[in-house]
Assembly symmetry: C2
Homo-oligomer: 365 residues x 2
């Protein structure tokens, strides 16, 4: 299959998210040029960051203006520090001063940080206005832009504020990934591979031996669409993370979050989850589940993550316990009985956790 403009000519892939208010995730090359006609609102606030804005905002704003809409672009500093109540307050006050009405739309143009921040602006301004997600990183395309989670960090922890606020549509323009640093691209593939292990073995095969943005638009769109389809199905089954289904998306994340916290986020999310996937494979193998270690180790080799923190289990354990508070129960791990068969396991003993941690240090050391 050939890539790029050929894929755009046959129209974007469309993945439905079947919620009470259904919406579609569109995936294709050159999609940003097709956003304007799909936005029905006449007042549009584009929220972006100082990395992405210079690359894509002017063209987007021009096409929105050309279709007769009033457009304003708001640019925040790049990076996690912008998921902050002060930045959110500045944005909402800017919208108010600009006179945006309840009939306005917020377009989140950027990676996960912009999506979470702009999403919460849309959720809270005038008690909620229309939101469109325009993810520009692979991670945001396959994960954070789908499902309606929005959030801000507090000094007390990440994502402690926010709302579930579904977008009207998501436009994943894979052609913008050409400008994404390879390192960030790889970070995104971790969640993509995770979705394959959760529900789509063919998606995993696309990644045997590694992968990069050079595979081209059509292959990228195929992989992103398959990954989004997995996430969309889980979200449709459990929008507010109350039924358990959505918890399976946390495969690799229990250890991942602990590693991020233990390193003060020096280890990136993708790297931490990469280690978390191997850890889940080790826990699963000990329980007699299918041995998925080889596949996750291949992913890790190709990901080339930052070094595993040199922590004894007693130092790591408090960070594993932290997730406990949020779920009002024992430490939960998502494991895989086999590819496509995740289980949420609530009874992983301290000893199992410790043994698997030692084993992880050996296999990746």
């Amino acid at each position: 299959m050939s890539a790029g403009s050929g894929a755009a000519a046959v129209g974007p892939r469309r993945v439905p998210v079947r919620l009470a208010q259904p919406y579609e995730v569109l995936i294709g090359s050159g999609l940003l040029a097709e956003v304007a006609p799909s936005v029905s609102e006449n007042e549009v606030a584009v929220i972006t960051d100082a990395n992405v804005g210079p690359l894509h905002a002017a063209k987007l704003a021009a096409s929105l203006s050309a279709s007769g809409k009033r457009v304003e672009v708001f640019t925040v500093p790049p990076g996690e520090a912008s998921k902050d109540a002060a930045v959110w307050l500045d944005l909402t006050r800017s919208l108010a001063r600009a006179g945006f009405s309840r009939g306005a739309a917020v377009l989140a143009l950027g990676g996960g940080v912009v999506g979470d921040l702009a999403g919460f602006v849309a959720a809270s301004y005038l008690r909620g206005v229309a939101l469109y997600q325009l993810p520009t990183s692979l991670l945001a395309m396959v994960d954070s832009s789908v499902g309606g989670k929005t959030g801000l960090d507090l000094p007390e922890g990440k994502n402690l504020l926010g709302a579930i606020w579904q977008p009207r549509a998501v436009f994943a323009d894979v052609s913008v990934l050409a400008t994404l640093p390879v390192r960030e691209f790889r970070q995104g593939t971790v969640e993509l591979v995770k979705h394959g292990y959760l529900a789509d073995p063919e998606l995993i095969e696309l990644f045997e031996g590694g992968w990069g943005p050079e595979v081209g638009g059509a292959a990228l769109a195929e992989a992103v669409a398959r990954s989004v389809a997995v996430k969309a199905a889980v979200v449709a089954a459990d929008e507010r993370e109350t039924a358990g289904a959505r918890a399976t998306l946390n495969l690799g994340h229990t250890l991942g979050h602990a590693l991020e916290a233990a390193t003060g986020h020096a280890l990136t999310h993708g790297d931490a989850v990469g280690y978390g996937l191997v850890y889940a494979a080790l826990l699963g193998r000990r329980r007699g589940f299918e041995d998925l270690l080889p596949g996750f180790l291949r992913l890790l080799t190709w990901l080339a993550p930052g070094a595993l923190p040199d922590l004894g289990f007693e130092d790591l354990s408090p960070f594993l316990q932290r997730d406990k508070k949020r779920s009002a129960g024992a430490v939960r791990f998502v494991l895989l009985e086999r590819i496509g068969k995740p289980v949420v396991v609530g009874d992983v003993s301290r000893q199992e956790q410790e043994s698997a941690w030692r084993e992880l240090r050996e296999v990746v050391g």
Copy 2:
């Protein structure tokens, strides 16, 4: 019918709010003592203000603790100034530091300000936790505690931030109204009478000749329950104020909001809406609708509002136009063709508005 403890003995009145997640508004005397067994969550944050807290929080917290729950009480300064992003941020950070989980509940114990503020805390903490409204003012009982509107003010305007976040239940304990200043009680009756005119003529009759907290628990509960039933029906038909039905609750509010804004909120909400109801009657009479002026004038006489601001129409008009931005259309007024038959009218000309304003100044002057 006799009042007080007799009414409580026969159990509270229950008004259902028929949304996707239905809930009940319970109305009765002594209800605060019955809250604890109805709260299923084991971690409870009571949010109240420095006026209401000293009267009711300790007893409520004790009964929650006695049923085995972990309880913390957070007290904010009384008054509109607490509907502020900084106060909201302080509260959410306090909840985080105290380790409240997604299984926690927020109990809003107070008037409209506490309900709006604590409601937004519940809507946004960990992307949403359970909320119970425990309104302690008549206005909050009949209006703001029902329907899920939560909000914060910005320097740019009131209620510009917020969410629609429905409570799990509302407990309107009319016995607490005994501690409410008569002036505040009267403010609440304005919305109550408004609900009567919108949909329940018998409710209006309860108010012919005025009314006060001295009528006793049973009569109060009857009136509050009837009023809540009107609001609940409208909310069930139009949860997010998109279909037009919920807009009818703005009867009297288009002029009311303009008067509040024009006086920098020196005129209270109830007083302003009282004048707004008379103004709506004057506009309706000019269109040949039923003449409802006598009834609204009686309400106004008994309400004894602050003086109507001495403004020419050219001074008032910009504040009437301000609502326009929010609805992306012409200035809308809710009028009554007759009692029980509200209509949203979008074509009230500047000349009609001006003539009715002159007339209002004459009839109340």
